[in-house]
């Protein structure tokens, strides 16, 4: 049983759907990546998963629990954590407080869990009293990931965790993503950079114009004529 299972999810803003009929499974211990050209609906899918957008059709199951119509704040309690692309930390609160909030899903003291995460992310431990808004962009992304991990989620959804980061920090973030997958968690990543996606993922979905264009293992996908999908170099190829 996959930790995250979606069937035929259709969602969008207002009346027009941006994504149509998306079915994605994510399993514990694996990195599932969603890639695709700009405007393909990757972030919209992530938002539909975590309850920011209510799907117009389809079902979303986390550990076999249907979370499709749940109030947004209840979804994390069922094991789904989310790291948005922008504005992903509480800027006016300290690093430690950001983590505490991530741990609110569970009752009881969270300081042991915070200590664990400071071991995984030593940079954050050093800056634990600093206001999150004063961290660099890369550090903010790591803090956002750490905050999501506070809840010990079984599924974590990361929306472009490396967008706008320097190459060095991009590697750091991907290393952590790989490590999270080993922590009994299913990882879903939305990504722009095809190269990195293929290198670090186990399973890949390519979205084009709001639909799941093609999906398969990273090895299978890298055999495809990706330039035609991404660059529209030959128009005919993308319509097959």
């Amino acid at each position: 049983m996959p930790a995250l299972h979606t069937e035929g999810v259709t969602a969008g803003y207002g009346k027009t759907p941006i994504i149509t009929d998306i079915s994605v499974d994510a399993e514990v211990g694996r990195v599932t990546t969603i890639i695709g050209p700009n405007g393909a609906g990757k972030s919209t899918f992530a938002k539909a998963l975590v309850g920011i957008l209510k799907p117009m059709a389809g079902r979303i199951l986390v550990n076999d629990v249907d979370v499709t119509r749940m109030p947004g704040h209840e979804i994390p309690r069922h094991g789904l954590a989310y790291v948005p692309q922008n504005d992903n930390v509480f800027k006016r609160m300290s690093v430690r407080e950001n983590l505490e909030i991530g741990g609110f899903v569970h009752k009881g003291d969270s300081s042991a869990r915070i200590a664990e995460l400071f071991e995984i992310f030593p940079d954050l431990g050093k800056a634990h009293t600093k206001k999150a808004g004063l961290l660099s962009g890369g550090q903010q992304n790591l803090l956002a990931i750490a905050r999501a991990l506070m809840a010990k989620p079984s599924v974590i959804v990361l929306d472009e965790p490396t967008a706008g980061l320097s190459p060095a920090y991009t590697s750091v973030v991907w290393e952590q993503v790989a490590r999270i997958a080993t922590l009994n968690t299913a990882v879903v990543v939305v990504e722009q950079n095809v190269e990195r996606a293929l290198k670090h993922s186990d399973y890949v979905h390519i979205f084009v114009a709001g639909r799941d264009h093609v999906h398969g293992t990273a090895a299978d996908i890298s055999q495809l004529d990706l330039p035609s999908i991404f660059l529209g170099r030959s128009h005919a190829a993308s319509t097959t």
Binding site: T16, S136, G137, A163, Q192, E195, L226, P227, H235
Partner: protein
């Protein structure tokens, strides 16, 4: 073709007839540089694409060129005139118009009124004229309305002329944005991702409109992700990466440029493209 010095990649003749030029544009948000020294010429009468990976600073550059944002440093020239630091309405009055990535229709106005708002030099924007010279205004409004209706017909929006703009579909709003900017009689038109979120059939239609604008002598600078579109309609390409101008030239030339391919796709793509 050299990568290090972008200016050498532009024909000297084109540089001499730049319709829009920027030098050393810098913009930082809370200490993070979104744009860091971008500099390029937009050749007059051509269609130029502004491309680059996510976060390269393309929209920020367009915002600075159009006056929607103040640059921290750098200069902008519209033809011979330096427009650095001008407010956006003044830049628009001097012939540089723009569209937005997410359509910004004037929702409470009808489609026709959206276009009429953009008509330049309206006597009726003055209170005294509004009060004392209704004849003049009526004549000007009729002329503008005729032109606007022609444009709406060309852009396939004529049937919707009396519809409030907020009721249009996403694709129709894109068309309206461009038609409205054209109504402003631009010398230079900046299009921020005109094809984003538009269905494939409409992409071809929009491409046709942009080519028509070129025929009418309008200089176009467009942010575009779809390189297929760039290949078909753009004459020149400016590549931004990490807030700097990485390269300029024709797309066919840039495809051979490993720096550009790497910035855009990563090494794996490069390998798969060559085999």
């Amino acid at each position: 073709m050299s990568v290090a010095d972008p200016t050498t990649t532009i024909d000297a003749t084109l540089a001499a007839t730049a319709a829009l030029r920027c030098e050393g544009l810098v913009k930082a948000f809370q200490g993070v540089h979104a744009v860091n020294g971008a500099a390029f010429d937009v050749p007059a009468g051509q269609i130029t694409a502004l491309i680059g990976p996510n976060g390269a600073g393309k929209t920020t550059v367009v915002n600075m060129l159009s006056g929607a944002m103040k640059a921290d440093r750098g200069r902008v020239f519209l033809g011979e005139t330096e427009i650095t630091g001008w407010p956006s309405h003044r830049i628009a009055q001097h012939g540089l118009l723009r569209t937005f990535q997410l359509s910004r229709e004037l929702g409470g106005l009808t489609v026709l009124e959206n276009l009429l708002t953009a008509a330049p030099n309206q006597a009726g924007d003055s209170f005294l004229n509004a009060l004392l010279r209704p004849g003049l205004i009526r004549r000007q409004e009729r002329e503008n309305a005729e032109r606007a209706l022609h444009l709406l017909a060309v852009y396939g929006l004529y049937r919707h002329r009396d519809t409030p703009a907020r009721e249009l579909s996403g694709g129709q709003k894109k068309l309206l944005e461009i038609a409205r900017a054209v109504m402003g009689q631009p010398k230079v038109l900046l299009l921020d991702e005109p094809m984003a979120g538009v269905n494939p059939a409409l992409i071809d239609v929009l491409g046709g409109y942009i080519l028509d604008l070129k025929k009418d002598g309008v200089t176009v600078l467009m942010i575009e992700h779809n390189l297929g579109v760039v290949e078909r309609i753009c004459d020149y390409v400016i590549v931004l990466a990490e807030g700097k101008t990485l390269a300029t030239g024709r797309l066919s030339e840039l495809r051979q440029n490993t720096e550009v391919v790497k910035a855009y796709l990563g090494e794996v793509m490069d390998a798969s493209a060559t085999h």
